[in-house]
Symmetry: C2
Subunit: 493 residues, 2 copies
């Protein structure tokens, strides 16, 4: 019986198709019957749960609590903050009716025309408005501040061109919404959460990120400042992986949220909001995976180790089962997750290909000769290398191997980014270089006009004005006007 392999398009052949194939074939997600909405399949959702759990722990360590706010937003709320309504995309799901009825002309149901809402409700595309309308009742005095809430929720933005995880009409995310007594404290919070996101991306996703500020054009609608983390994908395109917004007093003013300070003076409350979404799944998949399938960082893999027995007789399998039971008990005690796949209806070759496709970091195979010699074959997914080693001490070997894989894939991604980061001084050079992909550090005069001209002519946008690194003044590559320091350009997802 031939080994049945799920073929992937290769990255060099068609990167975009490779991504789509991978998401489907590794059982991460699929399109649903509802245009633009995805089904997140159990294997994909298990990764998302690990992301959630880790981020949630980090939010709580930094003093945040979870809460839940309504799915629906009254239409009029969206008009209250002028920049928000002006800048925010209008592609939203609108609820106009609240009842169906049996179709009088046949089977099935129709919308009951008599059950029309007085005011339409918008399925939340983001929750600043409904939350600040709530905070109005929570905040009277400086004693009520800060409010440090986060919510895990689904949101809907009616995207016309969707891609699994990267851009879907419904997606899952977390949105933090905080309220502060002072501007300084709010800015500190905005930056704190940016650093939490960056730490998560680098330490858990093994994805190096640039931290920076968005240009005015790219700011969140209603924000005074948007901070972001930007990652580089293997095709040389940038992906915005998280944003943290300093909202000033805009939403407090729009929803009249004032507080009495220690001196009895009234002032508007200062706000931040910050979020990451299932888009992180897209970044995770694209940053590390190869033509054989997913490559998952051990810290986010649904199971870190898969063990495959190779046997001819039931007796051989029983002996392997017994030997493996001892190992898995030790792995469990060490907090290492595993799957022992001793199912009988698939061949080892099929299993090897399947777990490679699914990006399981470490694979053990144990056959008859291993049983004789007290050895095991151990393979690592990131390098695709394998070796046969003694079964004794295998648990500690796995533990250090997982750490090694985690740091190796981060290093690989970092080396890739370094090799694809260029400094460029002329616009001609920029136009040439941008075709190769990567981050391009160039001088810009700080105006939206120049930014738009560059975007129009090269499809590259300013990903961020970096927070770190030395800022050497120079002249704009397009206009020759003064520039305070290089900013990061790239084509982006």
């Amino acid at each position: 019986m031939a080994v049945e392999i799920k073929e992937l398009t290769s990255r060099s052949e068609n990167y975009s198709q490779w991504y789509n194939d991978l998401v489907i074939k590794a059982d991460l997600a699929e399109n649903s019957a509802v245009r633009g909405c995805m089904v997140i399949k159990p294997y994909g959702y298990a990764i998302w749960e690990k992301i959630q759990r880790q981020l949630d722990d980090m939010f709580k360590e930094t003093g945040h609590v979870n809460a839940y706010f309504p799915l629906f937003i009254p239409k009029s709320f969206l008009s209250k903050e002028a920049d928000h309504v002006e800048g925010f995309a209008k592609e939203c799901a609108v609820v106009t009716h609240y009842r169906l009825k049996n179709d009088p002309n046949g089977r099935g149901v129709v919308v009951d025309p008599e059950a029309r809402l007085e005011e339409e409700l918008i399925v939340r595309p983001t929750s600043e408005t409904i939350i600040w309308n709530t905070y109005k009742n929570w905040i009277q005095s400086y004693r009520d501040l800060p409010v440090l809430c986060n919510q895990w929720a689904n949101v809907v933005r009616w995207e016309m061109r969707t891609r699994l995880f990267l851009r879907t009409s419904e997606f899952l995310w977390q949105e933090g919404h905080t309220a502060h007594a002072t501007k300084e404290e709010a800015i500190e919070e905005t930056e704190r959460m940016l650093h939490v996101y960056a730490e998560f991306a680098e330490k858990y996703m093994a994805v190096p990120v640039l931290k920076g500020l968005k240009s005015a054009n790219e700011r969140f609608a209603g924000a005074l400042e948007t901070y972001c983390i930007e990652a580089l994908m293997q095709d040389g395109k940038a992906l915005q992986a998280g944003t943290s917004h300093f909202l000033g007093q805009n939403f407090a003013k729009a929803f009249d949220v004032q507080f009495l300070d220690k001196d009895g003076k009234r002032d508007y409350v200062w706000a931040t909001s910050w979020g990451v979404s299932t888009r992180l799944m897209g970044a995770l998949i694209m940053a590390h995976s190869d033509d054989n399938g997913l490559v998952l960082p051990p810290k986010l893999a649904p199971y870190q180790v898969v063990i495959v027995p190779i046997y001819k007789t039931d007796e051989q399998l029983a002996a392997i089962d017994e030997k493996v039971a001892g190992l898995t008990a030790r792995l469990k005690a060490m907090g290492i997750s595993f799957k022992y796949d001793n199912t009988t209806n698939k061949k080892p070759g099929w299993k090897f290909a399947e777990y490679e496709l699914k990006g399981v970091p470490v694979r053990l195979a144990i056959g008859a000769r291993d049983m004789e010699n007290n050895t095991v074959e151990i393979a690592r997914r990131d390098t695709l290398t394998k070796e046969t080693i003694s079964f004794d001490g295998i648990d500690n070997h796995i533990k250090s191997l997982l750490d090694d894989i985690q740091s190796n894939i981060f290093k690989k991604a970092l080396d890739f980014r370094t090799s694809k980061t260029f400094s460029v001084d002329t616009y001609d050079e920029f136009k040439e270089k941008i075709e190769e992909g990567g981050f391009i550090m160039a001088h810009w005069d700080g105006t939206p006009e120049t930014e738009e001209k560059i975007k129009e002519e090269t499809k590259a946008s300013i990903r961020c004005i970096p927070l770190e690194g030395n800022k050497t003044p120079g002249v704009c590559m397009v206009t020759g006007k003064p520039s305070a320091g290089r900013v990061v350009f790239a084509r982006a997802y």
Copy 2:
């Protein structure tokens, strides 16, 4: 300065008002600007997170995985399963448009009439239809079975009369949807999950529940059998706390989900679904709380212990801080959650009342005399008793006290239920007894007509046909026709 107390209506005065006051004043939830949708506040959400975490662990232990399916359901899907469309409430939020636009006649936004959906989308009131439409692509052979998925999600049912947690237009829940090769296996799954729910209710919520079957009238639309757990509240009304449905092949047929069995024969797949929701919060609140506020079972309390220092000088506080630091380190190591409230802007009396209102199971108070004597005052929320004990060994004392509180509040609820469970043989007696509240065990002839007559005349419904206990045949209290055994009646939430 007088101690500011948040007054609750007493249960005897107005039970319904007591519940509403409690939910608001204990900071559990509040109504939002969107009719019927609640805001779950951080303290309430922290309890929900504990419920979620525990149930999720129990689902995973029984072999289930999580996944995520779309928020929206195409209107036509609701018509595919005949009983489902017929029986399911039609009060649903309907999305008809996908874009807003700036109001040409002024500020603000209006719905763009050109962005009308071809087919309306329904915000999921439950997900059987969209999930079975998905399972169609997942299941071809017996090798693909069983599928054991759960989803944590928000759902919307447009309720006209809402009450926080008990009945809201949007609520949070989990819905398990499983697919099986045989009828027997599906029934086994349905019952397994009922037992998981019952175990959770009794061991974690400390709420005793009756396990039973719903009568045909009360079955989920599309189910062949609905199992439920029923709890009794302090006002003598029943509350349905969870349901588990055996769906037969109804949804498989509606969505054409067939599989090849081991013998190569095609058959429709067998289904179950099961769910509990934020309604459990209502049950938890109503089952144990008293006129002073919440009483929380230690296993679900956001923090199990609160420690309040009583001091006059900064030096005294510093000494208490130091002593408490040693204790909290030990509590943390023992997995006991706590809050040390040494904030200076509230008096101890205010704190005592506040934590009593919030149902913290154990309260410690440490004052100057305690510091001298190496003692501490320890108070338990369930009995409102307190004593002064030695500080030595306090950590182990707390641990056993928490266990004691957990079993005591369960026992109290069980004793209450026992005292409010009556066997009744005549309809006159039934009518009299039902006014007192409680579970009434009576004979019924098994017909929907008799059931409806009883409901109309007494407002009591059949809560369940109990799974446990001896079934002695008898005659229906209304019609005198034969009855296979007593069923459980009550007025219900």
